[in-house]
């Protein structure tokens, strides 16, 4: 997809990301989602309202952003922190290829650790390949792609990417996104719900944006974040002597 350079970076990134102890954390939020779904299915097998509540609200405002945050800040941020990124940047690889390769790895991992569990939980909760299950799966796939662009960008711009990422997820999306109408327009969580609802047509999802707005805004935000990330990486500087 990106030639030999992109494939090489992706392969090393994948090994580095999955080799860290932090990788165990990737599986925790989706595991909780599936366990909760199983328990609720046993307790309320025929109640139609909880699947969209749990898989939509909990899945899209907690599991998806937090897992994407852990993965998105791992693929590049860890190397920036420990300085091993210099080995990669002291080569003629275009910085856009570095960002694109890291982003693809983060997105695919998030899709595996969030979108697939969402689909599985949706199948369990609704008893089959319903519109809700498929909608949540597609929404989670799109959310994985959008969140990771932002988190990869944050890990280029700041060494406190996790802190800023948490602030965005908890304060902007969690608080303001639900209280202030305009904040939804800059909320990846709402873009994901909007895309999910375009298929699911379920009012319990509380989707605040139309599919068109969600896809359009999501594409713009994703592209902008990746461009900013590539530019930021091109200006990556090493600290000089301790003075």
């Amino acid at each position: 997809m990106f030639g030999v350079q992109g494939r090489t970076i992706a392969s090393v990134t994948l090994r580095a990301t999955m080799g860290r102890k932090r990788a165990l954390l990737f599986a925790l939020p989706p595991l909780i989602l599936i366990v909760v779904t199983l328990l609720l299915k046993l307790a309320h097998p025929s109640d139609p309202s909880w699947p969209s509540q749990i898989l939509g609200v909990f899945g899209f405002s907690v599991v998806l952003p937090l897992t994407a945050l852990i993965i998105g800040t791992s693929v590049l941020g860890a190397e920036v922190d420990d300085g091993s990124i210099v080995q990669l940047l002291a080569t003629p690889v275009p910085r856009s290829v570095v960002i694109a390769s890291k982003y693809v790895v983060a997105t695919v991992l998030t899709m595996i650790f969030v979108a697939l569990p969402e689909l599985l939980a949706g199948l369990i909760a609704t008893g089959g390949a319903t519109r809700l299950a498929i909608g949540l799966f597609v929404g989670a796939l799109a959310g994985s792609a959008m969140y990771n662009a932002i988190f990869v960008m944050l890990s280029v711009l700041t060494t406190r990417a996790i802190a800023f990422g948490l602030l965005y997820v908890l304060i902007w999306e969690g608080l303001l996104g639900n209280l202030v109408a305009g904040a939804k327009l800059l909320s990846v969580g709402h873009y994901s719900l909007g895309i999910a609802n375009a298929i699911a047509h379920d009012s319990n999802l509380n989707a605040g944006l139309s599919a068109g707005t969600a896809i359009g805004m999501g594409a713009v935000v994703t592209a902008a974040a990746l461009v900013v990330a590539a530019r930021g990486l091109a200006s990556f500087s090493l600290k000089g002597d301790a003075i």
Partner: protein, 303 residues
């Protein structure tokens, strides 16, 4: 001939000037960038390597600017000071990864060649996490050499190495320099630079303090005045004798003993033993006061 050229290069962080108006040209062969810790060596090396923008001035490697120019890494190989690599890779995988990132036509052959140069073939299939510090340094050099660059930059390459590993690395760099590569390495240890390079650039407090042939600069360093603190059974009597000697520039009697400014280190230290014996004075203490590297560098700045 690929040269590193700096013209009036400065770099500052806020109000702090890290590198101050440096102009130099570095050609093929081994050049040592010498200076005390915090002198600005790393800042300078990072700017040459394209990992820091000069605040002012012009900096080129082989005629091209290195900042914001990834293509420059076809010419440059960099071994940064920070020893962080993908430790989960084997040595061979690490070097082959570097070869692929350089899009070399035959990455396997390039990796084999670079590993052979640093003599790491025997350990190339072990994970880097199992390597000693010296082995990690060598495999990092192999990674930096895999595309056969004209210029090799190394930031404090001998830090943490044992004497045998140092010698090996010195031989390696020396050989590369003799084959026409431009090798620039930084160090705060005089002896390392002395063994390895004929040409040095001395950086003190962000400025270029001395530049050129090592032996000339070394002579300047050893022939500088030295200050000694001397304690004896009769300080005044010795002081009176010392002031008549050509090797002594000045004597001051203090509460703690004699402060002697010697013009020549070797002559003074040989003479004082004989003088005290002849005068029947017991020599209790002889302390050189300014043997720190910083004082040597400070002296160079003054001259």
């Amino acid at each position: 001939m690929t040269a590193i050229e700096l013209r009036n290069v400065s770099r500052w962080y806020g109000n702090v000037v890290a590198v101050n108006d440096i102009t130099m040209t570095i050609g093929p062969g081994v050049t040592g960038l010498l200076g005390p810790n915090g002198a600005g060596k790393s800042t300078l090396l990072h700017m040459i390597a394209g990992f820091l923008a000069p605040s002012r001035g012009e900096l080129t490697v082989g005629g091209a600017a290195s900042w914001h120019n990834p293509e420059i890494y076809r010419t440059i190989g960099l071994v940064p000071e920070r020893d962080s690599v993908y430790a989960f890779l084997t040595g061979e995988q690490f070097v082959r990864t570097a070869a692929r990132l350089h899009k070399l036509p035959d990455p396997d052959a390039a990796a084999r060649r670079a590993i052979a140069i640093v003599e790491m073939a025997g350990a190339q299939d072990r994970k880097i996490s199992t390597y000693s510090k010296g082995m990690r340094q060598r495999i990092r050099v192999a990674g930096a050499l895999v595309h056969d660059p004209q210029v090799l930059l190394l930031d404090e390459p001998f830090n943490g190495m044992d004497p045998r590993q140092r010698l090996h690395m010195m031989d390696l760099l020396h050989g590369l320099g003799e084959r026409g590569r431009t090798i620039l390495f930084s160090s705060h240890i005089l002896e390392e630079v002395e063994r390895l390079s004929g040409t040095i650039q001395v950086i003190v407090a962000g400025r270029l303090a001395a530049s050129g042939d090592f032996r000339a600069i070394r002579r300047l360093m050893t022939s500088r005045p030295h200050v000694f603190l001397v304690r004896t059974s009769d300080d005044r009597k010795l002081g009176a004798t010392l002031i008549g000697r050509p090797a002594v520039n000045g004597v001051e009697v203090t509460d703690g003993g004699l402060t002697v400014r010697a013009a020549d280190y070797g002559t003074f230290t040989r003479e004082i033993a004989a003088l005290t014996r002849d005068q029947g004075i017991a020599l209790r203490e002889l302390l050189p006061e300014d043997e720190s590297l910083e004082s040597v560098f400070a002296y160079l700045v003054e001259t």
